[in-house]
Symmetry: C2
């Protein structure tokens, strides 16, 4: 089934304890689309790029089943650029440069055939843009997932709450959940955030896995212990993309199916961090992906 993914397509420059990467491909829409492509070939990207984005990268996305009809190309502009540095433990990062470039004036207009998309993933963007995308839909989607970050919780708090009200699922990391709720305990934080009007809440804990909440249940999906994390960039985006790809493929947004979707999303995230940029997540075979999912089963399943 159809999956609309809104977010950024960008260049990233990264410094990590394992090396540096200069102006490599990044952006939430790009990462999520690759992760979703292992599940569905009806991906509708909503983003914006400048005249500097390599055609080859766009071709790679379309070859995976992603439509670029909703990706605006600004001929006289430059693509969004982010530079950051990961600290020793790889769980913390600092931003060195943010050049919004064409993203500064991004006001997406959905192509007509996007407006009846069934599954919607609103990647990390200003809440205004996320709201605008939802408002252009002509048919109530089956599930809307919203990803956000600390920057918007701080700088666009009320708009973010408005965006959350339009969504079914929020994905947020543990520190952001604490920030948004004012509660240290993730269980208490989840209770408060849940009441903003959500059907499901997903709290991501990076290398420590993630939690899925609905009104009465909680499920935990582990992260795969990896010998080496080279570049954490895109982990959250690939997680969300894999998760929504799986839901779009199965057409089932029940709690039981979201549990599975968390595992598939976690598998996607486990790949992207093993190499810089999108090198690994864009080039997996289906059997490599399936074997990785099997590792999650072995890692976490037991019988009493």
């Amino acid at each position: 089934m159809s999956l609309l993914i809104a977010g950024t397509i960008a260049f990233d420059s990264l410094e990590t304890p394992h090396g540096n990467a200069d102006r490599v491909i990044g952006g939430s829409c790009q990462y999520s689309s690759y992760a979703a492509s292992y599940f569905t070939d009806d991906i509708r990207m909503v983003s914006i790029i400048g005249n500097d984005f390599p055609q080859e990268e766009l071709n790679d996305l379309t070859s995976k089943g992603a439509s670029l009809d909703g990706v605006k190309v600004v001929e006289e502009g430059k693509s969004f650029f982010w530079a950051g540095k990961y600290l020793d433990n790889m769980n913390e990062r600092v931003t060195i440069t943010t050049d919004l470039n064409v993203l500064a004036d991004f006001d997406p207009v959905l192509p007509d055939h996007y407006r009846e998309s069934e599954y919607i993933l609103l990647g990390n963007l200003t809440p205004d843009i996320q709201i605008s995308v939802v408002n252009q839909l002509e048919k109530k989607p089956k599930l809307v997932v919203l990803d956000t970050m600390n920057f918007w919780i701080d700088s666009a708090h009320d708009k973010l709450l408005e965006a959350i009200k339009l969504c079914d699922v929020l994905t947020i990391n543990d520190e952001e959940a604490r920030m948004l709720s004012g509660e240290h305990s993730l269980v208490k934080a989840a209770g408060k955030i849940f009441n903003l009007g959500l059907k499901y809440l997903i709290i991501k804990k990076g290398e420590h896995g993630c939690l899925l909440f609905d009104k009465n249940n909680v499920f935990f999906a582990p992260a795969l212990p990896l010998a080496e994390v080279k570049d954490p960039t895109g982990a959250g985006d690939c997680f969300a993309g894999g998760l929504m790809g799986y839901i779009a493929k199965t057409g089932d947004a029940s709690f039981e199916n979201l549990k599975r979707a968390l595992i598939y999303g976690s598998a996607a995230a486990s790949f992207v961090v093993e190499e810089f940029s999108n090198h690994k997540i864009k080039s997996l075979s289906q059997s490599e992906f399936d074997e990785r999912v099997e590792e999650f089963v072995k890692l976490s399943q037991f019988s009493l």
Copy 2:
């Protein structure tokens, strides 16, 4: 089957963000024994106390099936005392006072009927004492588990390695695993520590669960997300006690059974942190314990 548990019996004074507790019952041997008592009534405690330890508390332990024959009472001495403070996130603690008291001269002599114990849990103590306990065993035990802490990794490194060589399983937390191995990645750390001569390695990550490694496999047991952690003291001891209690009960030290044992240990740990001292872990009904284990199943089990 018989389970020997060596460790401390102590008074603790605690400061936490949820309040303070003054001279409450603590100690690794005491915590582990309570946790193990939900699985076996043949628990053989090895520890030392002074003349100040309440008889009522000792009676509570014997009523749960714990033998005190290996608990030396020093009539002219005082029990081990530890005072500490937990910082805001409850994952870090600082020691305020350590009064070794009778523990300073602890040189355990195992009662004869302890010397053929089948399962051995060496709680956090000096490696010298842990080695002495193993050396007094007259029959090769079925499984020896050793717990340790950063203090011994620092101050008694070579003795600790000697103790580890005598054991089948090491339980250690994530920061200690990094310290002992010099590796940040827990997978790499596990590889190095495993080669010290272990059959299994358990790396504890506190609220983030724990990992079980053997030569070829890895299993992850989550921690239960709790609305409130009042006092983390004893969590690791109850984890080890529940784990070894279950193994002693089932008489099965296979990887598959250790997976189950991790879940039972995690359930025991989830109780102790909900109240100060041993208040909760000593007074559960079997059905409360079983229901908690069921929560772990719901939390982590899925079908693809």
